[in-house]
Assembly symmetry: C2
Homo-oligomer: 288 residues x 2
């Protein structure tokens, strides 16, 4: 069997226009505008690149140290027209501005074209309001996917799930879990309700109900959307007032709240399939 | 009423020996050896300083921009002999090597003198094996305290809960939740079992049991210790084999595992008081 010819291009000048997608990866504000303008995002490391391609994101180009061409050969062969920029590790560092630990980068087109309406037929959604921290958004996607939730919606101000840090922390969940931006911050909650979702605002207001009680009463086939707010101020008053139920995780030891990523994991567990017994008639655990 | 005189010392030279506790706070390896050698740790920000003092840690000194002297006056007055180094924000930056956002630092003695034996009379413990990431240790302490667990044990290689980053992420839980190092990595699990704890290893081995099943069977007054391993490799084989039950959080969407801090939050919720219904006979939630 012969492999198709790959589109290999050796790069020897860090200012080469062809690798402009990869410049200064640690410069957050530059990257924001550059990635938005060109509708691209960067995947880092063999595993993440594979998951992005499997998730249906079309590649614009690859930037690889030579040793990665073989490891990724099967994936690269599926995109024979896409340029593969071959660089030394020193050149990769000159272009990106830092030591690329995993030696492999890809630039991919954003847009799977998913919008809010595409997710409204699902059963269980996590909805991030203004969570601006990429680490938190990545962690929430990872937990939601891991606990068998079906998708994630993000308010307009929430951090970009395709930012390099979000992708990394999500362990690739951003490519396997369907997600979209809400159409409008003001109408997001009513839109979910019209689509049949029970909307649960995670917040500490006085009229909130304890999570275990809400979980216990929830029928497994009910459509549910969990609303999560920023670490600092929590959910907006509007979303709390619009939500069907305000839910709190009971707290002790003088601690006010959990980190939003931990709260999200707990809520996804308690309200989703992961928290239900596998075998309600099973034997008692030894010593329990 | 007159306030006692405070021991105010204005610092004008960043190399002044008296502020040696505060140098180069971002230099992890320097800080590790400096803090170990002198048995000190640094608290940053008014809230954290207050919680550290309330937690019984004796202060060595304070390093404050002038505006913080008044805000902290009551706390400072309780330690009249402890020097308060007064610095401009620029001087604070020269000493510490970064912009001190919260303008207030304290250096405190470590050692509350707590050892493993002091925690064995408690009901619910989280046990960190080789979790070397300060963010994860801080997050685990915050979740454990928040969910009403009683204490935390750490294996010898686990990250320092009193490192600046751990303290910050823990939101001060490191000062309110009792914690100690285990006496010996090899004997930690048997020691817990002899003290009456049911030891639960969080891991994905083939013979693991789903968390909801274990939670369901657990009597509320059973002494429980959750064993947590590193993000990468998880728990050691030894601890897994020694544990009474191996427990897994059911996973979906091709995701292998949760981040250890999220897994810890979920386990503390499911196996502790936070996950029990407040009112089992309460009214059904609207629409649930």
């Amino acid at each position: 069997m012969s492999s198709p010819a790959l589109n290999l291009v050796t790069i020897t000048d860090p200012d080469d226009e062809r690798v402009a997608d990869y410049v200064r990866l640690r410069d957050v504000s530059l990257r924001r505008s550059l990635e938005a303008e060109h509708g691209l995002f960067i995947a880092e490391g063999e595993k993440v690149i594979r998951r992005a391609l499997e998730g249906g994101y079309p590649p614009r180009s690859f930037l690889l140290a030579p040793r990665w061409i073989e490891s990724l050969a099967d994936a690269l062969a599926e995109h024979p027209d896409v340029p593969i920029y071959v660089v030394s590790e020193a050149m990769a560092e000159e272009i990106t501005g830092f030591h690329v630990h995993r030696g492999a980068l890809a630039s991919l087109h954003r847009g799977t074209g998913r919008v809010m309406a595409d997710l409204l037929g699902l059963q269980r959604l996590v909805v991030c309001e203004d969570i601006v921290d990429h680490t938190n958004v990545g962690a929430i996607l990872r937990s939601a996917a891991g606990m068998g939730w079906d998708g994630c919606l993000l308010a307009p101000r929430a951090a970009d799930p395709l930012y390099r840090r979000s992708i990394k922390v999500s362990m690739g969940a951003v490519f396997s879990l369907p997600w979209a931006r809400v159409d409008s911050w003001a109408d997001a909650v009513p839109t979910l309700q019209e689509a049949g979702f029970l909307t649960l605002a995670m917040a500490l207001s006085d009229d909130s109900r304890p999570l275990p009680d809400v979980a216990q009463e929830l029928s497994p086939d009910r459509k549910v959307a969990i609303l999560l707010g920023t670490e600092g101020d929590g959910l907006s008053r509007r979303w709390i007032e619009q939500a069907d139920i305000v839910v709190r995780i009971p707290m002790g030891h003088g601690i006010d709240s959990l980190n939003v990523a931990a709260a999200s994991a707990v809520a996804c567990y308690a309200l989703g399939p992961a928290g239900r017994m596998a075998d309600p008639s099973g034997p008692a655990a030894a010593g329990a």
